[in-house]
C-alpha cells in the first residue's frame, strides 16, 4: 500500500506538467477549434531558447522569462501566419498544417541546436524529501512544478472569469459570429488565446526539461500524454485538462512503477482509446467527438 502511495506521489510532478501541456492544447482548441499538434514543438523550441539564455546568463529565472516571451511570440506568429488563414471548414487542412509546423520547428531546432539530447540544469535539487521518517518520492523540484502549475491555472481562471478579455474569449469560443456581432474583435481574441497557450506550453517545457533531457523530438511523447489528458478532460474545459492531466500523470506513474516505464505510452494509448469508445465527449466537456 505504501508503495502504491509512493508511486502515486511520484506521478504528481509529471502529472502537473502533463496538465500544463493539456491546458495549452485546450486554450488553442477553445480559441480556434484546432488541436495544435505543434504545441510541443513550440514548447521544445522555446525551451531550447531558454537553455541558450541559461547558458549565457546563468539564471534559471531569466531563462524562464525568455521562454515565456518567446512562447507568446511564437504562438501569435503561428496563429497569425498559419492557422488564421486556413479556412475554418477545412478541418483536415488545419490538422495537417499543425503537423507541418511541428516538422518545421523540430527541423529548425535541430539546425540551430543540434539533434543530440542536452541536459537542462536542475535549479532546485532533485533529492527526495524525508518527512516523518519516510522518504517520500517527491523532490523540492516537484513542489516547484506543482506551484507553477497552480499559479498558471489560477491566473488563467481569473483571466477567463473576471476580465473583459476573458469574457470575449469565452464568447468567441462559444460562437464567433455572435461574438463578432456583439463587438468582440474576434481575430485579436483568437491571437491572444494562442499567445496564452504558447506561454503555458513554454512554462511546461522549461519545467519538464530538467527531469529528462531536451532534444528536437524529446517532447513527442508528452504530446501523446497531454492529448490524452485534454481529450479525457473534454478538450474545452480548463478544469478538465488540469485534473485529467494530473490523473494521467498518476496513472502512468503507477503503471510504470508496477511494470516498466516503457509501458507508459501504451497505457496512455489504452486510456485514450477506452475514453473515446466509452465517453468520447470527455468527462468535463460538451464537444461531440463522434460524428457517426
Amino acid at each position: 500500500m505504501m508503495q502504491f502511495v509512493d508511486y502515486l506521489l511520484g506521478g504528481i510532478g509529471s502529472g502537473a506538467i502533463i496538465a500544463l501541456m493539456a491546458l495549452a492544447l485546450v486554450l488553442t482548441w477553445r480559441a480556434t477549434r484546432v488541436v495544435n499538434f505543434a504545441q510541443v514543438g513550440q514548447a521544445m523550441f522555446t525551451t531550447f531558447i531558454a537553455l541558450s539564455i541559461q547558458t549565457a546568463t546563468g539564471s534559471w529565472y531569466v531563462a524562464l522569462i525568455g521562454a515565456i516571451i518567446a512562447g507568446a511570440i511564437l504562438g501569435v506568429i503561428i496563429q497569425y501566419l498559419v492557422l488564421g488563414p486556413v479556412k475554418r471548414m477545412d478541418t483536415s487542412g488545419a490538422i495537417i498544417a499543425t503537423f507541418g509546423v511541428l516538422i518545421a520547428l523540430q527541423a529548425a531546432a535541430g539546425m540551430i541546436w543540434g539533434g543530440d539530447s542536452q541536459a537542462y540544469p536542475q535549479p532546485f535539487g532533485n533529492s527526495a524529501i524525508t518527512l516523518f521518517g519516510h522518504e517520500w518520492p517527491l523532490s523540492v523540484y516537484d513542489l516547484v512544478v506543482i506551484g507553477f502549475a497552480a499559479v498558471l491555472v489560477v491566473g488563467l481562471t481569473l483571466i477567463f472569469t473576471r476580465t473583459s478579455l476573458g469574457l470575449a474569449m469565452r464568447a468567441t469560443a462559444f460562437n464567433p459570429e455572435v461574438a463578432r456581432l456583439s463587438g468582440v474583435r474576434v481575430s485579436r481574441t483568437l491571437t491572444i488565446g494562442w499567445g496564452l497557450a504558447g506561454i503555458v506550453g513554454a512554462v511546461a517545457g522549461v519545467l519538464v526539461a530538467p527531469t529528462s533531457t531536451i532534444s528536437p523530438n524529446s517532447f513527442d511523447i508528452l504530446l501523446v500524454f497531454a492529448f490524452t489528458a485534454a481529450v479525457i478532460g473534454g478538450l474545452d474545459s480548463l478544469v478538465g485538462a488540469v485534473s485529467m492531466g494530473i490523473f494521467t500523470g498518476l496513472l502512468l506513474s503507477v503503471v510504470s512503477g508496477y511494470s516498466d516505464s516503457s509501458n507508459a505510452p501504451v497505457a496512455a494509448l489504452v486510456l485514450l482509446a477506452l475514453n473515446l469508445l466509452l465517453k468520447p465527449e470527455g468527462i468535463f466537456g460538451h464537444n461531440s467527438a463522434r460524428s457517426v
Binding site: T91, F99, A107, D116, A273
Partner: protein, 464 residues
C-alpha cells in the same frame, strides 16, 4: 473511344494495361540502372505503396491518420518474424518463402486496420488524428517491451528471401572472394548471425567496404569487389540528424572513409519519438555478370508490389467505392440518406489503407534487411502524411510524386550542401524544414497539392 469505355469491364482492362505498361517499363529500368538507383527506386515504390493507402484514407475518406507508419511496422515485423521463425507455413506445411511472409504481413495489417478503423472511424478530425498519433508512438514502442521476440530497440536483422536459384550460387562465390579480401568479415554475412546489432555492424573494423567506392564501375574490379553496400533507412523524418548517413551511398564515387560513413547511422538514441536505427544491409552489391544484385531484386519486388497495389487502388478509387468514400467525406448525412453506411465506408477506407501499409512495411523490411522501432517511428508516419499532402491529397499519381519527393529531396539537399559546404547540422535538418514549410504552404495556397493544382490549371486552360 468513349463508347469503348462503356463496355463492361473496360475500366478494369484499361487499369490493368496502364499498370502492366508501367511495370514493364520499370523492369527495363531496373535492369539498366546501378544498384544505388535501384535502391532509390525501391524506396520510392515502397513509399508509393503506403501512400496509395494514405490517399484513400486521408484524401478520399477525409480521415487524417498518423497510424500508417505503425501499420507498416506491423507489416514489417510480421514479415520478419514469420521469415525468421517459421521454416514451413503452418497448417499447409509448404516451405516458407517471401511471398507467404508478405501474405501474413497483409493479413496482420488488415486485422489491425479493422481494429483501428472500428475505433477511429467514429471519431471526428482532431480526435482521430490524436488517437492515431498515439498509435504511431505507442505501437513501435511495444517492440521494446518484448526484446527477446521483437529485438527491442536494436530490432531484428533478417535475410531477404531471395528467389530460387540466383542467391545460393552467388552466396558461395561471394563468400570465397569475401574471405580472400577481408577474412574478418564473415560476421557480416547475413546468414552468419541474424541477431547482430546494427552498431556492431557499423564499426569501421568489421566494415570491409569502408575504403571502397560505391561507384558501380569500380565494383567490377577485383580489389573493391566486396564492398558491402550499406543501405540506410531514410524512413525517419523527424530525426534528420541520423539521416545523412544515406548520403554515403548516395554520392556514388565518393570515398567512404571509416570516419564519415558510420557516423550518423550508429547512434541509437533512447527516446521514443525520434530514434532512427539504420538498417544495414551487409549482403553486398555484386557483379552484374553474376546475375544477382540485391538492390535490383529489392527494386523489382518493391515495384511489383506497388504495381499490384496501384491496380487495386485505381479500381477502388475510380469505381463505386471511391464515390462512396468521397460522398461520406463531403456529407455523411446525405450519404446515409442515399443508402450508404458512413461508418462502414470509413472502416473500409481504414482496412484498405492498412492492407497497403502493411504490404509496404513488409517491402520496407526487405529493403532495409532489418526491422526496428526507430525505422517505423512517428517520423515515418509524418513523412507519409507529408508525401501525400505535397503530391495531392486525393490523387494516386500525386502519391507517386510525393514518394519521389520524399526520396529525392534529401539527396538534392545533400548535393547542394556538398557544393556550398554547409554545416552537417544544417544539411541534416534542411529537408525536414523544407517539408514542414511546404506542407503549411500547400495547405494554405493549394490544398489539392501538386496534382490538384495541375488539374485546376489544366481545367482553366481547356475552358478557354
Amino acid at each position: 473511344m468513349r463508347n469503348l469505355m462503356r463496355l463492361p469491364g473496360a475500366r478494369l482492362v484499361l487499369h490493368a494495361v496502364v499498370v502492366i505498361v508501367i511495370w514493364l517499363v520499370m523492369v527495363q529500368v531496373n535492369d539498366r540502372v546501378d544498384p544505388l538507383m535501384n535502391y532509390y527506386i525501391a524506396l520510392v515504390a515502397m513509399y508509393a505503396t503506403a501512400m496509395f493507402g494514405m490517399v484513400i484514407l486521408v484524401g478520399l475518406s477525409g480521415q487524417v491518420s498518423l497510424g500508417n507508419g505503425a501499420l507498416m511496422a506491423i507489416g514489417g515485423y510480421l514479415f520478419a518474424l514469420t521469415t525468421l521463425n517459421w521454416q514451413t507455413v503452418p497448417i499447409l506445411g509448404v516451405p516458407m518463402n517471401g511471398i507467404w511472409a508478405m501474405v501474413f504481413a497483409a493479413v496482420g495489417g488488415v486485422v489491425f486496420g479493422l481494429l483501428i478503423g472500428v475505433l477511429g472511424a467514429r471519431l471526428r478530425g482532431p480526435y482521430l488524428a490524436g488517437l492515431t498519433l498515439g498509435i504511431a508512438v505507442g505501437i513501435p514502442a511495444i517492440a521494446n517491451r518484448f526484446p527477446d521476440l521483437l529485438g527491442g530497440e536494436t530490432g531484428l536483422q533478417l535475410t531477404v528471401p531471395y528467389p530460387e536459384g540466383g542467391y545460393a550460387a552467388l552466396d558461395a562465390g561471394f563468400e570465397d572472394q569475401f574471405a580472400e579480401v577481408a577474412p574478418s568479415g564473415e560476421a557480416l554475412l547475413p546468414s552468419a548471425d541474424a541477431s547482430l546489432a546494427p552498431e556492431e555492424l557499423l564499426t569501421a573494423d568489421n566494415f570491409p567496404s569502408a575504403d571502397a567506392t560505391v561507384a558501380p564501375e569500380d565494383l567490377l574490379t577485383a580489389d573493391t569487389f566486396p564492398s558491402a553496400d550499406a543501405t540506410v533507412a531514410p524512413g525517419d523524418l523527424l530525426t534528420a540528424d541520423n539521416f545523412p548517413s544515406a548520403d554515403a551511398s548516395a554520392s556514388a564515387g565518393d570515398l567512404l572513409t571509416p570516419d564519415s560513413f558510420p557516423s550518423g547511422a550508429a547512434s541509437l538514441s533512447p527516446d521514443l519519438g525520434g530514434t532512427d536505427i539504420s538498417g544495414v544491409d551487409p549482403t553486398g552489391t555484386s557483379d552484374i555478370d553474376l546475375g544477382f544484385i540485391l538492390e535490383r531484386w529489392q527494386a523489382s519486388l518493391a515495384v511489383a508490389v506497388a504495381c499490384i497495389v496501384a491496380f487495386v487502388a485505381l479500381n477502388l478509387v475510380r469505381g463505386r467505392q471511391g464515390r462512396v468514400w468521397k460522398a461520406v467525406r463531403d456529407d455523411p448525412v446525405a450519404a446515409a440518406v442515399s443508402g450508404i453506411s458512413p461508418a462502414g465506408s470509413k472502416v473500409s477506407a481504414f482496412v484498405v489503407s492498412s492492407l497497403f501499409a502493411s504490404l509496404a512495411g513488409a517491402v520496407f523490411a526487405q529493403i532495409l534487411s532489418y526491422v526496428g522501432p526507430g525505422a517505423f517511428g512517428l517520423g515515418l508516419s509524418l513523412s507519409l502524411l507529408v508525401g501525400v499532402v505535397l503530391g495531392g491529397r486525393s490523387s494516386l499519381v500525386g502519391a507517386v510524386i510525393g514518394a519521389v519527393l520524399l526520396v529525392w529531396l534529401p539527396q538534392f539537399v545533400l548535393s547542394l550542401s556538398e557544393d556550398r559546404g554547409w554545416d552537417e547540422q544544417v544539411t541534416n535538418n534542411a529537408p525536414n524544414l523544407i517539408y514542414g514549410l511546404l506542407v503549411v504552404l500547400v495547405v494554405l495556397i493549394a490544398p489539392g497539392g501538386l496534382m490538384g493544382s495541375m488539374q485546376t490549371l489544366v481545367a482553366k486552360v481547356t475552358k478557354r
